[in-house]
Structure formats: structure tokens, C-alpha cells
């Protein structure tokens, strides 16, 4: 199923929630990234039909999610916040939402038990939610959202409060669901979580879309030199290599870190570097231990975008 936001703006009185956001989400995992208050949850609420855009248009498979209640049979939603009937058990809670989908009692119970067991709540599902830990609550929210096999899964900060085991389990599940062709939209302010799940991202800040698409492609659009670090096997080759590279057209600057035996080249032409470097190394007879670019990480990408980097 396809989610489409076209120049969507949402105002809360005089406060702007999101501004002029356009985004296409297809099957697979898409991450919405941004700091707290960036507009991630507002974007999700608009997609879910919980809120109506002040301007612009949002459609899910061509339909308006705010007015078409039947469209919601395709939605699985994991909210960021706690929203439980605390007096219920985990099993009753998941069953409740199955039964209001017009599913009979016995079938609902079987489905709920299976979903909760798969998420490791076998022993806790008959305990009242009020006694649950944060991790258990998170799993219950995920079980509720996924138990009916939704086509679209919208997860707002799904890893918040989850312990490493739960986090790993949720990531594994999400990868499985994505392979089944579901459209999964995850928001997070923990970039690392999303980085390990998908390269398809949307970066938001202050209610505005900074960039969306493949994170490597986005990085290439930023007109800020990108650091590539080279570690030669022999420490003595560090200066020799720096001297050789500094005259290249693609080099914007070099930094030598003798202590860690690293040479960092700053460039706007990454592909050129990766093409030319083997030739240079061969000619200079320098063997290298490794070559890497930390700048490819989402943290770095995000920092650059939020800092207002210039675009080509």
C-alpha cells in the first residue's frame, strides 16, 4: 500500500506542527528521523487519520485516512505513549482490539495468544497491564498493532524503553514483516536503531522535511566535504601519502592523526576518491589496513542537515 503526503502543513492554532511536507512511502521500512518535537508524531497522526492537514493532502492508496474509517483495517499503530486499559490483562487488551474488529471470541483469543507468545509474553499475558514493565508494555503495544496482520504498520518510537533483548526481537520482527511486503513507517530519534533497519529515511526538523530517500544518496547531495579516513599499515607512510594526495583535484583538505596512524581526506567527490586511491596506493607502494567514512552514518548526516548545510 502506498502512503502519499503532498505539501502537508499542520497548524495547531498559531503553532506550526509540520510545514509543507511531501513524502511517498511504499512497501518496506521507511524511517522518519528527527529530534523530539521535530514533527514525526504529527506526520504519523496525519497518515493515520487522527489529525487532518491544515493544508495539503494525504492519501493512503488514494483514500483520505481521516474520513475513510474502513481504510483503517489496514493500519497497525504502535504509539509512542502509553495508552492502555490498565485494568485489563495483556491478553484481554489485545483481544479487545480484535473483537472490535468484529472477530469472534475464540478466534480473537487464539490470535492474541499467538501474537503475545511470539513477542515473549507467554507468562505475562494473563497478568494485569498495570503490573507490566516498560518492555512488556512495548511488546503488548506491538502485539496489538500486528496481531491482525496489517498492511501498513506505523510505529512511533518503537524502541523507546525497550531493553536490548526486546529491541533485537522487535528489529527481527520488523525485518520479517518488511520482507512480507508490508509498508512500515518507523519514527525514532535514535538514529542507530533505524540505520540498522533501513537505508530509506526521511529527516525532519522543526516541522520541515530536510531530506528523504536513500541515506547514501542524501549524503551525496550535501555540499559539505566528506571525510574519508585511510589507515596505512606502516606508520611511516602517513606523511608520504598525505603529500601525494594533497595535490589531487578532489582533495579539499587533509588531517594527519599520528597517534592513531590515520590520514583523513576531506572531499566533495567521494566516488573519485574511491576510484583514484587504489591507483595512487599502487604507484606509491603503500599498503593500507583499512579505509572508512564515519560520515556515512545517520548521526553525521542528520547533524549536517540540522546545522543548515548548503545544498547543491
Amino acid at each position: 500500500m502506498k502512503i502519499k503526503l503532498e505539501q502537508v502543513t499542520k497548524n495547531y492554532g498559531n503553532v506550526q506542527g509540520i510545514s509543507n511536507i511531501s513524502l511517498d512511502v511504499d512497501s518496506g521500512i521507511t524511517g522518519i528521523l528527527g529530534p523530539n518535537g521535530a514533527g514525526k508524531s504529527t506526520t504519523m497522526k496525519i497518515i493515520l487519520g487522527l489529525s487532518r492537514p491544515s493544508r495539503g493532502r494525504v492519501t493512503v492508496d488514494g483514500k483520505d485516512p481521516f474520513s475513510d474509517w474502513k481504510l483503517k483495517e489496514n493500519f497497525g499503530f504502535v504509539p509512542e505513549y502509553d495508552c492502555f486499559y490498565e485494568h485489563m490483562t495483556g491478553l484481554e487488551f489485545v483481544m479487545y482490539f480484535l473483537r472490535i474488529r468484529d472477530i469472534g471470541r475464540d478466534k480473537a483469543e487464539n490470535m492474541a495468544r499467538t501474537a503475545l507468545s511470539e513477542l515473549g509474553l507467554n507468562n505475562a499475558m494473563e497478568r494485569k497491564i498495570i503490573t507490566y514493565s516498560r518492555g512488556m508494555r512495548q511488546k503488548t503495544k506491538v502485539a496489538r498493532a500486528t496481531v491482525f496482520d496489517p498492511k501498513i504498520l506505523i510505529m512511533d518510537e518503537p524502541f523507546q524503553g525497550a531493553d536490548p533483548t526486546t529491541r533485537g526481537l522487535l528489529m527481527k520482527k520488523m525485518t520479517e514483516w518488511a520482507k512480507k511486503g508490508k509498508t512500515i513507517l518507523i519514527s525514532s530519534h535514535i538514529l542507530h536503531d533505524v540505520q540498522s533497519l533501513t537505508d530509506n529515511i526521511a529527516l525532519v526538523n522543526n516541522g520541515k522535511m530536510l531530506a528523504h530517500g536513500n541515506r547514501h544518496e542524501i549524503r551525496n547531495l550535501i555540499n559539505v566535504p566528506r571525510p574519508i579516513t585511510i589507515v596505512p599499515v606502516k606508520k611511516g607512510n602517513l606523511r608520504k601519502l598525505a603529500k601525494r594526495i594533497i595535490d589531487e583535484e578532489w582533495t579539499k583538505g587533509t588531517t594527519i592523526d599520528e597517534e592513531n596512524n590515520e590520514l583523513t581526506v576531506e572531499t566533495n567527490q567521494t566516488e573519485e576518491v574511491y576510484l583514484e586511491l587504489p591507483r595512487i596506493l599502487q604507484k606509491e607502494k603503500i599498503t593500507i589496513e583499512k579505509i572508512y567514512s564515519e560520515d556515512d552514518s545517520l548521526d553525521s548526516l542528520y547533524a549536517k542537515l540540522v546545522e543548515g548545510a548548503q545544498w547543491k
Binding site: 474520513s67 493500519f75 504509539p79 505513549y81 495508552c83 486499559y85 472490535i100 474488529r101 471470541r105
Partner: protein, 302 residues
């Protein structure tokens, strides 16, 4: 044309709603009943309701030796020392006090409280957001909560009315209790229509206002309290409840006047509504309120 199209779809919609209710109503009703019954304020109201029952028992144990008894056809009929039939005095006490305490006061407070718990609490706990991301029509979200509220409200008030009837009429013996069941049924009839009407109205307040309790109290005092005694009282629910009560007491052969139920205008003319019409009006008010409420729920943004 659009309206005609909507109306033509109504039988199918109603049929679909009824079919879905089999699965939807039990879990919603169970959850709502639980929330209403564990609410501390509900128990405060129940305690207040029990006070007149306890008082009735105390009066009975203190005065039961003062009664005069006459046995007719094997039935014991009790009289006061003045020779008046106890059951006739007590049934009027029961009707008056039920109207004063339960119908005019406790039931309204209970409807405000219950509607607030059923709707407003779901906004505050954000469970309403989960419901709105589920394929359930806003009318169904409201309807099943409303029905659960009506059942709970009428259940509590009905049980109280039976207890209160028993503890009030106990002085008149088995004969008096059985002889005047009509008055109990009248009170129960008024209570069910009161639950139907006020739960719907206060549910609408809970949907549209952030402080439904305050709005409910203002509505009760200004609209149902003040306007219901005026010439234009037909725009209040109280008028129709009073009309049902007035007609039922008249049908039981009591010597009652329209003015006893404020069913007169400034020219002292009787403006009571026929009981059947009063009942239909109350049902229409409830249905219209539920439709308005469901529109409010559907348009509410989070």
C-alpha cells in the same frame, strides 16, 4: 440527493451495525462496566443512595409496634393510630422522595459522571486514539459506550429503587408492598427514560467539551432546573419525564395536580405532554444526541 442516498443506505447500515454488535458490544460493555463500577465516585453515590434505605429500616424498627393491624381475607393491613392506611401514606412518601432525591438529583450527577468516565477518560488515557485507528465507526464507538452507561446507570438506580421501595413500604406489610408495585414500576419507567436521555446528552458534552462535568452542572441548573419550570419547558428533558410521572400517578388513581410536577404555564394552563409522545421525544433526543456525538468523535483531531 446525497441525503436521500444516505437515507436509502440506512436499513443496510443499521443491519450491519446490529450484526457487528454481537462481537463489539460484549468487550466494550465489560470494560465500561468495570471502569464505572470501580470508580470511587460511583461508590460515593451508591453510599448516598443507601442512606434513605437505611433510614427507612431504622424508622421501621422504631415504629413497627405503633401500627394498628386488621386482617381481611387472611391479609394483614396496617393502619396508623389515626386510622389512615400506612401503605397509602408510604407510597406517596416513596414517590415524592424518589422524585426529589433520585430522579431530580442523583440520576443527573450519575449521568454526568458516567459519561465523563466513558468518553473523557478515553481522551485523557489516549485510548480513544487507538480506537480511532481501528476500523470501527465513530457511531459504534459512542453507541456501545452509551449503552453500557445506560445499563449501569439504570442498573444501580433500579436496584436502589427496589431497595428503597422495600424499606419504605415494609411498614405496610406484605399486602402494602404488593398492592403498590405500580408506583415502583412508575419510578423504574421514569428512571430508564431518564438514563436514556441524560446519558446521551452528557455523552455529547463529554465529546465536545474539555470540562464536561462543569458544563453538565451548568446545563442541569440553568436548562433542566430553571427552564423546566417556565412556559417553554417543552424544550427540556425534565418536562417529558415529569409528564410520564404525572400521567402514571394519575393512572394509579392518585389525587395529583399538574402543578405538583411543574406542568403548568404562567397562565396556570396544563402543558403536560402525552406519555407516549413524551417517551418518543426522549428516544428521538437520545438518537439525535448520539448522531451529533458521533460526528463530534469523527471530527475530533488529536
Amino acid at each position: 440527493m446525497e441525503i436521500i442516498g444516505e437515507i436509502s443506505k440506512m436499513p443496510a447500515t443499521i443491519q450491519s451495525l446490529a450484526k457487528r454488535s454481537v462481537n463489539l458490544f460484549p468487550p466494550i460493555a465489560k470494560d465500561c462496566t468495570h471502569r464505572l463500577l470501580v470508580n470511587k465516585v460511583t461508590w460515593v453515590i451508591i453510599a448516598i443512595l443507601l442512606l434513605p434505605c437505611i433510614l427507612g429500616l431504622v424508622i421501621y424498627y422504631e415504629t413497627n409496634n405503633d401500627r394498628q393491624v386488621q386482617e381481611i381475607d387472611g391479609e394483614k393491613i396496617y393502619y396508623t393510630n389515626d386510622g389512615a392506611l400506612i401503605h397509602e401514606e408510604k407510597r406517596e412518601d416513596y414517590e415524592y422522595q424518589s422524585n426529589l432525591i433520585v430522579i431530580s438529583f442523583v440520576a443527573i450527577i450519575m449521568a454526568i459522571l458516567f459519561s465523563s468516565e466513558l468518553i473523557n477518560e478515553e481522551y485523557e488515557n489516549k485510548t480513544m486514539q487507538l480506537l480511532r485507528t481501528t476500523p470501527i465507526h465513530s457511531f459504534e464507538i459512542l453507541l456501545h459506550r452509551y449503552l453500557a452507561g445506560v445499563i449501569c446507570m439504570f442498573g444501580i438506580l433500579g436496584i436502589h429503587s427496589i431497595l428503597f421501595y422495600y424499606t419504605t413500604m415494609i411498614q405496610s406489610g406484605t399486602h402494602g408492598i404488593l398492592e403498590n408495585l405500580d408506583v415502583l414500576l412508575t419510578i423504574l419507567k421514569v428512571l430508564i427514560f431518564e438514563s436514556i436521555a441524560f446519558m446521551a446528552v452528557f455523552c455529547v458534552f463529554a465529546i465536545y467539551f474539555e470540562k464536561p462535568f462543569l458544563i453538565g452542572i451548568i446545563y442541569w441548573i440553568v436548562w433542566e432546573g430553571f427552564v423546566s419550570g417556565q412556559n417553554y419547558q417543552k424544550i427540556t428533558i425534565t418536562h417529558y419525564l415529569n409528564s410520564i410521572l404525572f400521567d402514571s400517578t394519575k393512572a394509579m388513581g392518585w389525587k395529583v395536580k399538574a402543578s405538583d410536577y411543574n406542568l403548568i404555564n404562567s397562565k396556570e394552563e396544563i402543558i403536560a405532554t402525552e406519555p407516549l409522545i413524551a417517551m418518543i421525544v426522549i428516544l428521538i433526543v437520545a438518537i439525535v444526541a448520539l448522531i451529533i456525538g458521533s460526528r463530534g468523535l469523527a471530527n475530533r483531531q488529536f
